[in-house]
Chain length 288, copies 2
């Protein structure tokens, strides 16, 4: 199953037979005080910098979130999307919990966006899915609902199935629903990753849809987060994860590209070897 | 199921509920020209150095191999085992394809060794298993036989089952058989890792035994081998691998310990956090 996203000039395909889709997480003011203040003051220079840096580091898509308290989020999100679209050519994941902001974002987006996100809650499904359908977008469906975060993989599968079915009712095909199986913090629950991996495997086997998750959650509060992210993503990819909203730190992106090669999504290591040669050339140039 | 190995003073337990067992691969003259020449000339200083370095880098056990053409392998293996046993206190994996060398090694080993290895070939089973039983050792059983390396996970499971059964005939319990599901080179076969991961999962589900493999094979001939090893092992661990004969490069050992944490084998990250603090202290000391 292929989820196809588009910018004005570029197409990205998410699929179980494709290289993993790296979605840069960085353009998000949550927990970034200086960035929030800059955005609040109308300074969007860091949006541009973060966009360029993440694409250079290997991002296939960029997540863009404008969630700052007491800010006109629809307006800010439109401005941020304009900056990202003029700075880079990768497709965008439009990220908001505010429906008017999602609509504002979709209205200025040139291409086929990924909407982040809907949940399995009836009210959210009924509000967000028509918007996704109207703009011909794809949508991330979080495997939680009115009852909270399900503890078992089977419950997450059930909610995923409900979201895929509800999307169908609005004319959105299963390939345009990317399920988020939920990655919780292992520092708060030692079983968290095992549950996520099992949910990924179940959803892959039963629904066959693409999946994405917020990979940084897993290592929250622990030291050496890049090493944890670099170990988590290959495990999740082997289970069936096809995309993640994630840090583009070199160590983590390298792990993802290594896992692509190991899982047969980088035939004969062509991309891996090319990246290695490019890095060698850069290092030689820097050293000379 | 727990495989318990012992040195004179130390016990290591391999199991699906245990931290991953890292077996240092380095004390092996295969492909090491200088080391081979030193050993041939009776200079065992590098054995000592490699033993210490690997244990410092996080090895739970050490593999020791004395396979040099035209050398008295039983005698050399005895000498190397003596050096490793007086230098470190970790249990040893006695590694040879020569039965008289395995016997010589077992005769001087103090503790419960892991014998590396037997295959599913009738002749090898009948020669090696009595030796393993006589010395009360454990044994690695390679999932290949007279017909070569099986292409399918199911065939590897079948051979694993045969080895476990044959071991039982000689009074060796299943917990003392560690199956090697075979990790082939992904650079030669893009499906190789997928087959290995599926074989691990099958053997885990059907036999429940512990497993070990030679992890470095996977990345043979490719650049940035540590990054590939660091992505491969977490995937294999999530599938059910409980041990590996592997490089103790920091990047790879870090990935294994990260995966231990993520899979719930390092409760609340105690070991991970302690290692991080120790490293910080060392770096602070080095910088001062």
């Amino acid at each position: 199953m292929h989820t196809v996203l588009e910018s004005r000039s570029k197409t990205v395909t998410i699929g179980h037979d494709q290289p993993f889709c790296v979605i840069g997480e960085r353009i998000n003011p949550t927990g970034r005080k200086v960035f929030s203040e800059e955005l609040r003051g109308g300074d969007l220079s860091r949006v541009r910098e973060d966009a360029i840096a993440q694409v250079e580091a290997g991002a296939d898509m960029l997540d863009v979130n404008a969630g700052i308290p007491l800010v006109d989020e629809p307006e800010l999100l439109k401005q941020m999307l304009a900056v990202v679209q003029e700075t880079t050519d990768v497709p965008i994941c439009i990220d908001s919990s505010v429906i008017s902001a999602l609509e504002a974002g979709l209205s200025v987006y040139e291409g086929k966006a990924l909407v982040n996100s809907v949940t399995g809650e009836d009210e959210r499904l009924e509000e967000i899915l028509p918007l996704v359908a109207r703009y011909g977008a794809a949508v991330i469906g979080l495997a939680n609902d009115e009852t909270g975060i399900p503890e078992t993989p089977q419950q997450r599968l059930d909610i995923a199935r409900k979201i895929v079915s509800a999307a169908g009712d609005f004319g959105i095909p299963p390939e345009d629903v990317v399920i988020d199986p939920l990655a919780m913090t292992v520092g708060a629950d030692t079983e968290a990753v095992k549950v996520t991996l099992e949910a990924i495997r179940l959803i892959r086997d039963e629904l066959g849809v693409n999946m994405s998750l917020g990979a940084s959650n897993v290592s929250f509060g622990l030291p050496q987060r890049h090493a944890l992210g670099g170990a988590f993503l290959p495990m999740a990819m082997a289970a069936g994860l096809t995309s993640a909203i994630m840090s583009c730190a070199r160590e983590i992106v390298d792990s993802v590209r290594a896992a692509d090669l190991l899982l047969g999504h980088d035939e004969w290591g062509a991309r891996w070897i090319a990246a290695h040669r490019e890095r060698q050339a850069q290092e030689a140039a820097a050293g000379s």
